[in-house]
């Protein structure tokens, strides 16, 4: 079992980063939009900590937590959100389009799932020993390509872990209006073993994810983890029409709060201070970083058009 203090540190890094991102967004210092994972940090830390750094992660529009948990540079993420040349994607990608070796994200619902399956096929053929984990939300289950991908992953026996974060809302639309049937049965229908838990306790998620990851690696077959969770923040910004009483009720299950009870006050304060320091430094550096060079953009275009 991973050290509780370390789990707390990792969750606080994400929590404080996301809170700062929202603050910067409100000040108009970020471009586009941002989808925070406040309330869902235990999924990222719990599952991704069970992977090896050499494993491959494909994330989605709500990917900052996944990125940080897989070892992405916080400064490069802050700089990306601020549109700076030092951003992890040089300011071209923004929040939803992040890449460093072993990590990929894209903002189109569902489309990343076949890409992840293809990566698993590549790793299998290379005998690299790496597995691929791909994160899907509940809303993504409306996309047909997801089911095509489940079918092929199972048919061809590919080492991919499908991680479902059911945060109960597809943007503003509640699950009940969006979703029929059952998550687990969807996987089982394709012969994919699935494990389902409803918790925000990161230690439980880690304990569930670890054997699932091992099974994917050892058996070279897909598996699924269905994590029922709750998004405490808005989908992005200013688009939260949920009943405040409902949100309040879920605050009891805030993953940071749940883990807090397992740490002493000084341990928690230390973790908090460390995360504060890192976030503050990341944004301080990012906001003084240079803007991307638009001349280079034209060079890149010429390169792209070159036959």
């Amino acid at each position: 079992m991973a050290c509780i203090t370390k789990l707390m540190q990792e969750m606080l890094r994400i929590r404080l980063f996301e809170e700062r991102a929202l603050e910067e967004f409100s000040k108009g210092r970020l471009f586009g939009t941002t989808h925070t994972c406040i309330g869902q940090e235990a999924d990222a830390v719990g599952v991704i900590g069970a992977l090896r750094r050499s494993d491959i992660l494909f994330s989605n529009h709500r990917g900052h937590g996944h990125y940080l948990a897989h070892g992405g540079s916080m400064h490069a993420l802050a700089a990306e959100l601020m549109g700076r040349s030092t951003g992890v994607s040089g300011g071209l990608g923004g929040s939803q389009h992040l890449h460093f070796p072993g990590f990929y994200s894209n903002g189109v619902q569902g489309g990343i799932v076949p890409c992840a399956v293809g990566m698993a096929l590549a790793e299998k053929r290379k005998n690299s020993g790496a597995i691929v984990a791909v994160f899907l939300g509940d809303g993504t289950f409306g996309e047909g390509v997801v089911y095509e991908s489940f079918n092929i992953a199972s048919l061809w026996g590919l080492p991919v872990l499908f991680v479902v974060e059911n945060n109960r809302y597809a943007q503003t639309t509640p699950l009940a209006v969006n979703f029929s049937g059952d998550f687990c049965l969807r996987f089982r229908a394709f012969g994919i073993e699935v494990c389902e838990i409803a918790t925000t306790d990161v230690t439980v998620i880690r304990a569930t994810a670890t054997p699932a990851v091992t099974a994917v690696r050892d058996n070279g077959r897909p598996r699924a983890l269905v994590l029922h969770t709750y998004r405490l923040g808005a989908h992005s910004k200013g688009d939260d029409f949920r009943d405040p009483a409902e949100i309040e009720q879920y605050r009891k299950f805030d993953p940071v709060l749940i883990l807090r009870s397992k740490l002493s006050d000084p341990e928690y304060e230390d973790a908090l201070a460390a995360a504060r320091g890192e976030v503050s430094q990341a944004f301080a550096q990012a906001e003084t970083d240079p803007w991307p060079d638009c001349g280079a953009l034209l060079d890149a275009r010429a390169e792209l058009l070159k036959v």
Binding site: I56, S89, G90, L92, G93, H97, H99, F100, Y104, N106, V108, G111, I112, V113, P114, C115, A116, V117, G118, M119, A120, L121, A122, E123, R125, K126, G144, V145, E148, S149, N151, I152, L155, W156, A300, R301, E303, L304, L305, V307
Partner: protein
Amino acid sequence: MSTVLQALNEAMHEAMARDERVLFLGEDILDPYGGAFKVAKGLSTRFPDRVLTTPISEAAITGIAVGLALRGMRPVVEIMFGDFLSLAFDQLLNHACKFRWMYNNQVRVPMVVRTPMGGRRGYGPTHSQCTEKHFLGIPGLRVVAPNALCDPKRLLVDAILSDDDPTLFVEHKLLYLSRLGQLPNLSHLEVTASNSASRYPVVSVRIANAPRAEITIATYGYMADLALDAMWRLAMQQEVFAEVIVPTCLSPLDIEFILSSVQRTGRLLTVEESSVSLGWGSEVLSLVAEGISKSGRLVARRLGARDLPIPSSRPLEDAVLPSVEDICDVAMQLVIKGEN
């Protein structure tokens, strides 16, 4: 004498033999069937572990190819009919073509999507369309069309083994039957690959020792066969001489060779089998109009399929798709118009 189909089949064999990273995915591509149009013939027998016949899941297999390419493979996908490319569009537009760019040039996506395209077989509205027009102008996507004048084998091998960006490779169904090196009156033609240094040449054809060409016909793929027929008819029946310019890379398009021909002839006819509105010819004409010198004159027409779905019945299909007669008629209209 070998056909374009044989050349493309040989290209697949050669690419898979030369590079173990080449994986081939598609529907019904295993022997003995060997794919709906037989480009896949023999591959699954020779490379059983690298030829993956797939469920009817165009979106997923295109996405799987993207994932393979991102992790060091060089996948080739066969989409059984070009009409079904619509199912793979999100994977091409939002994934294959954007990763290199939006990840700041840190990745490449070397993949080829091959597909039979076009009508004249009576397959009707959903199995006869030339859908390539919908894939033109997408930043990061190469759209390549072989023809019987170029070396289709080299074209496909290079697209698979040497091009590190996603490529849509458009194979007209009737082109499969076209014979290589067997053009009518070949010995009387001047055929030049204008930019032979490029992976994707532009082929120029004119009748050897003919008088100055009065019209430029820009076309691609199978329509080049029809354009060459038209070029002979115009010469023999009307004493009107044409230059036919045939790019193999439709997008991004190097307009230089078409433009320099139009500078000489003053007349441009674009010919394609896609529906004519807002298509390849529209872009060619725009680029020529923008690029033509101040003293240059220009009369132009676009010829393509009528803006309709493709009918099944032969006389109806013929009425919708451009023919050799149509090319000759429109060319003559332009020649007469340009004389005023």
